[in-house]
């Protein structure tokens, strides 16, 4: 049985479930957006009715003087439920995000996640997997429904578990590294996320092939590469490689190759993560497109060692690579001369993104903001009634604590964390 990499890739869930044509991708996002907007409007309306009721109750049961208390918008009651637009909710038509605005918001979430990964000094694999989980998640869910900050924390923990196994550490350890975050915040949204991920956890990252490409290029430069399909000798390949790099010496070539490697890696760990590249192209296409941006001459040379440049496939491949390269270079993280501080570009947001983020505040679904409460087994109740069933919550908490105690009786209590 002969297998090639294409056959293997076509077996992957990334190919089967997470590859789209541009129009399919747009349609899916429109569908998600339309659905979420309906929900948001419905739930905000229900929320307002609920608030109005509470306000009336408050007025009715308040002491005499209370009757004078201005309580027009009900912002002072039911403080547990996030209010769209907060105290400023004028009760008018809810202005939901458009698909384009949602895209900007999701991109912003992912940029923030990238900064978080950088701050926590996580391996590039973990950060990239977490970001792709978020991008996949927001194909089927709207940022109006689920808050990006909350989702990103859980996406990171899930990526940690999947990439590092038992070295991932515990959820509480991870929570302690994040500001104002409890273990529950980390664990609660997990089911919502894995469901949207369709239980697919393998992400095929283009940067995983980069090292291999460069080992081959190094061999070519040293004159040790002998498997060119067209019968070119190692010496000829060496000459052409040096020419593509515009250098005469192997030593110079090695330095230049190192720079190209670093630049390609930057594009793959930033622009490739923050655009739709993974949805629209295969890992090898993304890898070669990034390489094309870092060094067009060397990449064209490298491709020709695999497929003759005269072959019709070669033209087709190059045009696909070029369109992918255009997508990557359109991202604002892309720079021809990588800066020292790699995430400097993310310090400010474009005006349109700022505007969308601001608009988001007024159109969040009030029923899905408290993910911990949603997860505590009261999902349906919360969604249907907009209120929490406290009795049920308490009972569950009690059961949990009893179970933990029983566990501790055998194992001894959990070790106290230092600091």
């Amino acid at each position: 049985m002969r297998l090639n990499e294409d056959d293997l890739y076509r077996q992957s869930t990334q190919y089967k479930h997470w590859s789209f044509t541009p129009s399919d991708l747009t349609r899916l996002r429109q569908k998600t957006n339309a659905h979420a907007a309906t929900q948001v409007k419905l739930h905000i309306a229900q929320d307002r009715v609920e608030r109005a009721k509470l306000a009336t109750l408050d007025v009715a049961s308040a002491p005499e003087s209370g009757a004078d208390t201005p309580n027009g918008n009900g912002a002072g009651t039911g403080a547990n439920t996030p209010v769209p637009g907060g105290a400023g909710d004028k009760g008018g038509e809810v202005d939901c995000l458009t698909t384009e605005e949602e895209n900007m918001v999701v991109d912003k979430f992912c940029e923030t996640a990238m900064k978080l990964g950088d701050f926590l000094k996580l391996q590039p694999d973990v950060t990239a997997t977490a970001i792709q989980f978020m991008r996949r998640f927001y194909l089927y869910n709207s940022p109006m429904t689920y808050d990006g900050t909350k989702i990103s924390k859980t996406a990171f923990f899930l990526a940690l578990k999947l990439e590092l196994g038992t070295r991932a550490g515990s959820a509480s350890d991870f929570a302690s590294r994040l500001p104002k975050t409890s273990r529950d915040d980390i664990v609660a949204p997990e089911y919502t996320i894995v469901q949207a991920l369709r239980f697919n956890f393998e992400v095929r990252h283009p940067f995983r092939g980069l090292k291999g490409v460069h080992l081959e290029l190094e061999d070519m430069i040293r004159g040790n590469y002998a498997v060119a399909h067209d019968g070119r000798t190692p010496a000829e390949l060496r000459g052409e490689a040096l020419q593509a790099l515009e250098v005469a010496e192997e030593e110079e070539a090695a330095t230049k190759l190192g720079n190209i490697y670093a630049h390609t890696k930057d594009i793959l760990t930033m622009a490739a993560q923050l655009t739709d590249a993974y949805f629209l192209y295969t890992p090898s296409q993304i890898l070669l497109a990034a390489h094309l941006l870092a060094s067009p001459a060397l990449t064209t040379f490298y491709l020709a060692t695999k497929i003759p440049s005269s072959s019709p496939a070669s033209t087709k491949i190059l045009s696909t690579l070029q369109s992918c390269a255009d997508l990557l270079s359109s991202h604002r993280s892309y720079s021809k001369n990588p800066a020292q501080h790699k995430l400097a570009w993310a310090d400010g947001d474009p005006p349109a993104t700022k505007k969308a983020m601001k608009k988001l505040r007024g159109c969040k679904d009030p029923t899905t903001q408290d993910l911990v409460a949603l997860n505590a087994g009261k999902k349906r109740d919360v969604v249907r009634d907009g209120t929490l069933e406290e009795g049920k919550a308490k009972r569950r908490k009690l059961n949990r604590e009893t179970a933990e105690k029983e566990n501790d009786a055998f194992w001894g209590p959990e070790l106290k964390k230092e600091g």
Partner: protein
């Protein structure tokens, strides 16, 4: 016999509150077939799908969930309960549904074994690897794995059951299916890391299926450090006992060698009482490896304490093997010895194993339909029982406690 191959070296499930010695459930039956899991219909008009409270992800989940019907409970373990199930549209098409327990997953969310099993089985589809048909959640947020129904028990049952007679042709057919399955894993850069005869299940058509991917991991990144505390002891290769933390498919191939040897001798091949004693058991058969037959061995983490002062020992001669494994002949012995080569670099890879002359030597491998097997009812019972298997010895308890305390253990 009274000896058990020891539990897989995996830590307790986080937050498991059940009885201490309850066995981990076994994956039973298992392809995330994209045909059965359609994307939310892109073509349908963009009106509100599902109920008013359902998102697109929930709608997608419901489509999957509604394809299956739960049937009788087959077994229960610490991690999961397994049910017989069938397709709603085709009640005669059986599946097994493994419902992951939620309470065991509390501390750190969904446990690693389940995540790994879903991750790798969703990517790997092969006739000799257990098929994951679908995954869905039920409203209490339990994750359910729909696996293929494998009603004929485990490979281990076959050699243990002295009422079943089998010959060289049968061993050859089984061994070949195992090698093909493992080859597929390795082509996909996945290590199983717990291959043993009770993780190999038997389908209705007598195909063997590699199962239990709870310890699987990818080995695409050669720089990644991996744990050496993995693979059930009887099937664990020498380099892991010596503390090697960078390895590839070779670790699984040693286990494959052990399984084939087990079939050939109808007994455990390398049984031992403890992890510490096991390297002694290995060297008893294969001799004490030296720098000359295994360059670099003295640089391995535990070489000094484990082997440095061990007196030299020669491996058992061919006559010893002929005496023990007449069932598989010289060609089979050559394959087994190739798989059980101490030096992992010289050990046969899955591809090399499939190119071995054993497969073309006489006798021909048995036809699948003629392979010996357990009777229908008895075997289905075995499927349920395999799930309930409990490690109840004191030794196991201690091992589990040790694992619980071994915070640094990696996998």
């Amino acid at each position: 016999m009274g000896m058990s191959p020891a539990l897989s070296p995996r830590p307790n499930p986080p937050g498991s509150h059940g009885p201490v010695n309850a066995a981990k459930a076994k994956p039973l039956v298992h392809l995330l077939n994209h045909k059965t899991v359609p994307s939310p219909s892109l073509t349908s008009a963009a009106t509100t799908p599902g109920g008013p409270d359902e998102g697109l992800a929930e709608e997608m989940n419901d489509v999957v969930k509604n394809q299956f019907v739960f049937g009788a409970r087959l077994g229960e373990g610490t991690y999961a309960t397994v049910y017989r199930g069938h397709y709603r549209e085709e009640p005669s098409k059986l599946v097994a549904i493994k419902k992951m327990k939620k309470n065991t997953e509390w501390q750190d969310g969904i446990n690693l074994d389940s995540l790994r099993e879903m991750k790798y089985l969703a990517e790997l589809h092969h006739p000799y690897v257990i098929n994951l048909i679908a995954v869905f959640t039920t409203k209490d947020e339990n994750i359910n794995l729909v696996l293929e129904h494998l009603p004929r028990g485990e490979l281990q049952d076959i050699w243990k059951d002295k009422d079943i007679a089998y010959g060289g042709a049968d061993v050859k057919a089984w061994s070949n299916m195992i090698c093909q399955g493992v080859w597929w894993l390795h082509e996909n850069f996945v290590l199983h890391r717990d291959i043993k005869s009770n993780n190999i299940l038997i389908a209705a058509d007598n195909s063997l299926k590699l199962a239990d991917f709870g310890l699987a991991r990818s080995f695409a990144n050669p720089e990644a450090e991996m744990t050496y505390n993995v693979i059930t002891r009887f099937y664990r290769p020498p380099e892991l006992f010596l503390g090697s933390s960078h390895y590839g498919g070779c670790v699984d191939m040693w286990s494959v060698g052990c399984v084939i040897a087990e079939l050939a001798v109808r007994d455990w091949f390398l049984p031992s009482e403890t992890d510490l004693a096991h390297l002694g058991v290995i060297t008893e058969v294969f001799g004490v490896p030296t720098e000359s037959d295994w360059p670099g061995i003295s640089k391995l983490r535990f070489w000094k304490e484990q082997l440095e002062n061990t007196p030299a020992k020669r491996p058992q001669p061919l006559s010893w093997w002929r005496g023990r494994m007449p069932l598989i002949g010289d060609a089979g012995i050559d394959l087994v010895r190739g798989l059980l080569t101490m030096n992992p670099v010289k050990r046969l890879t899955a591809k090399q194993a499939l190119e071995h002359h054993y497969w073309t030597a006489a006798p021909k491998p048995q036809k699948k339909e003629n392979l010996p097997r357990k009777g229908g009812k008895e075997a289905e019972k075995a499927m349920g029982e395999s799930l309930k298997r409990v490690g109840e010895t004191e030794d196991d308890k201690m091992t589990k406690i040790a694992r619980k305390l071994d915070f640094g253990a990696m996998r």
